[in-house]
Symmetry: C2
Subunit: 193 residues, 2 copies
């Protein structure tokens, strides 16, 4: 998606350790006009697929998921992250390893909001190792719902998440970062010449 | 807002300890069509006010804030909750006491996304004791931005948050719960007869 790649090149900041900061428009300050264009692009890429629910994970996925959901005209469910041992009520849960934060946490979705008959599109802002997305896919599977696909705004193509998730479902990433140079700030996208 | 009150009466569940569960449409599963109507209602209630940024707090405020922001045609910033001692970079921060979770946490906003010239509307899904909202108001004040008002979807009118925040800014709550009965499930709203 050219508009997104242009925006990443303009406002993204490449930091040490292959960190791409896009918090001026994606995951701290949020440009909802861009989100609307992202929603339209996902709609185009999943044209013809039957989707009746969007599943995301707190926190930064929620904003994008809600605006994408408006374009798809479906409700959103967001999985909650918890370190609580006593998870109240009837929930699906799985463990997710976070490389960024160096810990394992549980993600949960109430059973009443995910189940048979749901045709689910996963939406998230970022994918690197893909552990959060794998966790969401697992919740969908456990619930008996159908996993239709996954839409990611920015994929770090040099980390393994994308390849793993592509084997499992129809993955669409709107910008795949192939490499970044923290000295020059240069960002190479996968489909660039 | 009648549409919202009807929905709370239809799908809200009154639980022990004055808990109102609205997670089927507001803060776990999210009805984005309702959010759009909520956005239009806030736009009507803040008509004539100059607003160029919406500030909310993770996680469940983000979805509503993004759709409200589309109606206002402004960007969103969400404050992050953290228990990290080492807050990286240049941020505004304040402490918030959570009665629900029985702990104190820090909320932060990067300085580059809030400051002089910003005319800020706070948006959140719920207000009871109002500590999160007070924290957001404090961040706005610390940053030199102007606090224009606060829009809350559901206010628990029998808890002190609303009265405190009304002294500080223009507060609009779309549904103010005056009392709830966990035995009958009855909910009384403030402007009901």
């Amino acid at each position: 998606m050219q508009l997104l790649k242009d925006r990443i090149r303009k406002d993204g900041k490449v930091k040490e350790g292959n960190v791409l900061k896009v918090d001026s428009f994606l995951n701290h300050q949020m440009d909802v006009k861009l989100f609307r264009e992202i929603g339209k692009e996902f709609k185009r890429r999943f044209e013809g697929e039957e989707i009746n629910k969007i599943l995301t994970i707190e926190a930064s996925g929620i904003g994008i998921a809600c605006i994408v959901a408006e374009v798809f005209d479906v409700p959103v469910v967001f999985a909650k992250k918890t370190q609580t041992k006593n998870i109240a009520g009837d929930v699906y849960t799985t463990k997710v390893e976070s490389f960024t934060h160096g810990r394992v946490y549980d993600i949960i979705v109430a059973k009443e909001f995910l189940g048979k008959g749901d045709k689910v599109l996963l939406i998230d802002d970022f994918m690197a190792n893909g552990k959060a997305l794998e966790g969401l896919a697992q919740l969908v599977e456990d619930s008996g719902a159908e996993l239709v696909g996954a839409g990611i705004v920015i994929e770090k193509g040099f980390q393994p998440g994308g390849d793993i998730l592509r084997k499992r479902t129809h993955l669409e990433s709107l910008a795949i970062v192939e490499s970044m140079d923290e000295k020059t700030g240069e960002i190479v996208f996968r489909d660039d010449e």
